[in-house]
Amino acid sequence: MSSEGTSTPPYVPPDHARFWLGTLTESADAGFVGADLRGIIITWNPGAERIFGYAPAEILGRPIGVLIPSDKQAEEAASLARIGAGETLRLETERLCKGGRRTPVSLTMAPVLNERGHAIGISVIARDMQRTFLINAENLRREAVLRSILDTVHEALIIIGDDGLIRSFSGTAERLFGYPSEEVIGHDVSVLVSEPHRERQVAYIARYLQTGERHIASIARVVAGQRKDGSTFPMELSVGEIALPGVRQFTVFIRDLSESQDRERRLAELRSELVHVSRLNDLGQMVSTLAHEVAQPLTSLANYLNGSRRLLTAGKAEAAEQALERAAEQASRATRIVQSLRDFVRRGETEKRSEDLRKTIEEASALAMLGIAHKLTLELRVSPDARQAVIDKVQIQQVLFNLIRNAAEAMTGDGMVSITVMRVGEMAEISVADTGPGLGEEVGARLFQPFVTSKPNGMGVGLSVCRTIVEAHGGQIWADPAPLQGALFKFTVPLPAGDSAKTD
């Protein structure tokens, strides 16, 4: 360039260069190591100390060979020969730290020349690659995990921007909607939603986008989806937010509820969720906490006993006695832990409390109505003198779930499920009525026995589970033999003690 010769570099007094260099060397993250022609280390900065663990006093004057693993000696000899010939080398290799640990490093090695251009030693800049290695490996691992998850889950994944435009469309999404990803990326997400409901359902997503209400994301929503060929299907959405600086995108997981198999699986999952959700989490956590809790006294116990054995062998009975006392303390500590575990399990067996029946029923029916394609109206009436009952809430919700589910399954078209709670003596009586075809002849008297079913995919266990649960509560369950319409199931659960005196 023509201007190059005209600009003069800023003037630095020759003796100041030393200070600049000194600070650079002291503050660099990289290790700076200088060795003379014999390979004796003569400079060593704090960076080198951080990487290799040696303080300057420990390493200055020692041969550079102490940093080189035995299987890298040949590589080092070859490098030195090339540097001797005036070359500057970069290489990724390993070096030994204080204490003998190997660490991956990236090195820049160059000859140090005097004013006449003669080599007087070598300089080495070393960078610690340990962290870089770990971070790279971790990123690769995460990517692989993510890919394998997306390949195996049944949900389709769509990523949309806060403008509602589709950014990414997974393979499962392509199969589900029948669009190749390039046809929908960049389009509004509403193309995937069925026409008549488009407004309302898109509004749901939009509301999430606008308000960013986090709790909506955790609630799965069922809406009607539309495939490329125009056909519609029920789909369950769960929306999550990707929060990156400056970018607001949303992940939408879509589960197809129309596939009978998938729907059955979903229902089976829901059913077992009802019972297990709370307990499973508790259990997994319990086991690892417990392992830790019990391992502590066992560790102490083993240590005291092993030490005591040595003392006894050496004839020092008195000293051993004290340790054995402490060992005994640790044994009772372990016992107390096991006892509290027993208490926990016992409590878990009968988790009966006074619960609000309206809330219990509302929650169960919300779950039971999930994925029902036809239009169902749900009606709930709770008499004021039967608001509470003493129940295991999760179990009674399972009973309600099975009854509502049966009612919904019995009605092929539109219909109604009415649930009524009233007081009969000391019990709350809950009835579930539907407007379906009523009970068929073939099930009749064996209704509550297991494996009695009239459904192609039914297991016939729903009502028998109901009976087991209700009877464990001291109640009864039956089907009204001659309802005015449809089927009518009733069951009873105990009211809170002393509630009989109360009148509303």
């Binding site: 990487i51 730290c97 204490g99 690892s288 392992a291 116990l301 240590n303 030490g307």
Partner: protein, 121 residues
């Protein structure tokens, strides 16, 4: 007070009974022992290090592995035996990455502890 810290075995565990029992067992076997109730307490002492460290994984504040990562990034290298009630694959892998000498399940065997201490004195 120990005058020669270089020949002591360090033990870190948040549980006082575990600490006391390690001290007892190692002292009976003829070792000097330094005990620390937490990783932070140990970090305050890194100017004079024990010759090797028996370290509990599950501790409040800083876990065993977090402590080792901190030591390594400070360039402090000393032989470490990690003891944990729950040696998950994640813990074992991370320990290997950090160059930890060994991971033992709680309760650890006396032989494993003593041969570790003997090897690094």
């Amino acid at each position: 007070m120990q005058d020669d810290l270089q020949s002591a075995v360090g033990v870190i565990d948040d549980d006082p009974a575990v600490l006391d029992s390690f001290r007892f067992m190692l002292e009976v076997a003829g070792h000097r022992v330094l005990t620390f109730r937490s990783a932070l307490e140990f970090l305050a002492h890194t100017s004079d290090l024990p010759c090797c460290l028996i370290l509990d994984q599950q501790m409040p504040d800083l876990t065993g592995l977090e402590l080792v990562a901190r030591l390594r990034s400070d360039g402090i290298v000393l032989p470490i035996l990690l003891v944990t009630a729950w040696p998950s694959p994640a813990i074992v892998t991370r320990a290997a990455e950090l160059g930890i000498e060994g991971v033992l399940e709680k309760p650890p065997g006396e032989g494993d502890i003593l041969s570790f201490a003997a090897a690094y004195l």
